[in-house]
Symmetry: C2
Subunit: 250 residues, 2 copies
Amino acid sequence: MTPEEPPYRRIAADLRQAVERGEYRPGQQLPSGSALMKRYGVARQTVQNAFDALRAEGLVTTQPGAGVFVRTKPAVTRLARNRLSRAARTANQATFLGDAAASGFTASVEVEIRIETADEHLADALHIEAGDEILVRRRTMRADGEPVQLATSRLPRRLTAGTAIEQENTGPGGIYSRLEEAGVRLDHFVERVLTRPATVDEAALLNVAAGAPVLVVRRVAIDESGTPVEVNDMTMVGDRYELVYELAAD
Amino acid sequence: MTPEEPPYRRIAADLRQAVERGEYRPGQQLPSGSALMKRYGVARQTVQNAFDALRAEGLVTTQPGAGVFVRTKPAVTRLARNRLSRAARTANQATFLGDAAASGFTASVEVEIRIETADEHLADALHIEAGDEILVRRRTMRADGEPVQLATSRLPRRLTAGTAIEQENTGPGGIYSRLEEAGVRLDHFVERVLTRPATVDEAALLNVAAGAPVLVVRRVAIDESGTPVEVNDMTMVGDRYELVYELAAD
DNA sequence: AAGTGGTCTAGACCACTTG
DNA sequence: AAGTGGTCTAGACCACTTG
């Protein structure tokens, strides 16, 4: 670390404060690189370093050819993740479509369905044998056309063969309702939540900067006998999601 | 966007693949900037851009004066956040210390206790009047000496006056047990989880790069009459936490 | 003492957007 | 046509770590 703050950080701090004071509102353009070079008497790279820092913080977005703009905080998609009860399922259609509608978004989902065989990790998670057939549903969820979530569900093929779970449209209540119709009694779900920087592939699919925070949720559905029947890996754009959980006191 | 990939991205991609192939193991040093300048025939800044990209992804850490190193993935602190039941409380001491012990960390907590008055937002969240006295407990949690979480609890002073909640050490079961002893019947907790890039202040307190993902959790404790009795805002280092929630199927 | 990553200057070219 | 952000070169200095 240098003993005194490097120039690019001072420039970044000045711009940050200006935004916080409301001098530049969300969506508005910040001074251009050239303007800042003159104002501070620095080289191009120094201004670029300041822009990079502000972008990493998520305070601004940059549009090459156009300018640097204060980020408009998008309305949060509130995902009441405890809304997986039977009652909620029979009322709603698919979970994501319900959540998006509740948040005022136009939702769309793209589904790719495949039959694969389980590798060791997945076989372990689903209590099946490696090499067993599994049904894979890969989905891209969009809100107002913008991709906001990638999700991959995997279920033992033995549970899904001949059901609407292998169709694009799984019908009212989604795959959980179809599982129960097929005789599976769901008992509970376990969700593990973590965050990390987006990988390069995720960044491309979700249209965010590489390294931008994503929420990663693995949900496992467990039946009355304690057997896992579905593993759902979800990757959500950090900006667009807020997960809500309710926990009993006893 | 340039039509062909800029040189710094190709350098970053090469290094990423080398790490993925296992050529450089976690903790090991990557080739130095000078070595890469020669190997690729590029300027210092170009190598620096590659390093910056890999750091944003969280793949490497850089130590000025020493080198660029493959990040060692730290053992995850598994926070079974559904462990707020009465039974678990009476068994454990404080929640964080229990979690850390279960994950094999040496935990330490630094507490700062203050009495403040509620601003409008907080008064709204706690169902009290703006200006009412509140007890504020600001904590920094460390695992093996490294800061991993900042937490700020706020409770109406009326509930905490004369209890151990206003002491540094709140005793067995923590503040929830003290609240129940004082006649508060807890009913449930609501946790809202989101992620965002660390602010500059948080980054300094948590010893991470500005913009690194943090998990932000707001927990509200609600009593049997539906009144919120505590608001706890937590900021966790993204790398170090995995939150676990269990949801009933009906 | 030699090597490291971080930052800087001054100047250049590029693809792109805006009026 | 003028302006924008992104990237690059070539060279420099700095504080720091390593042997």
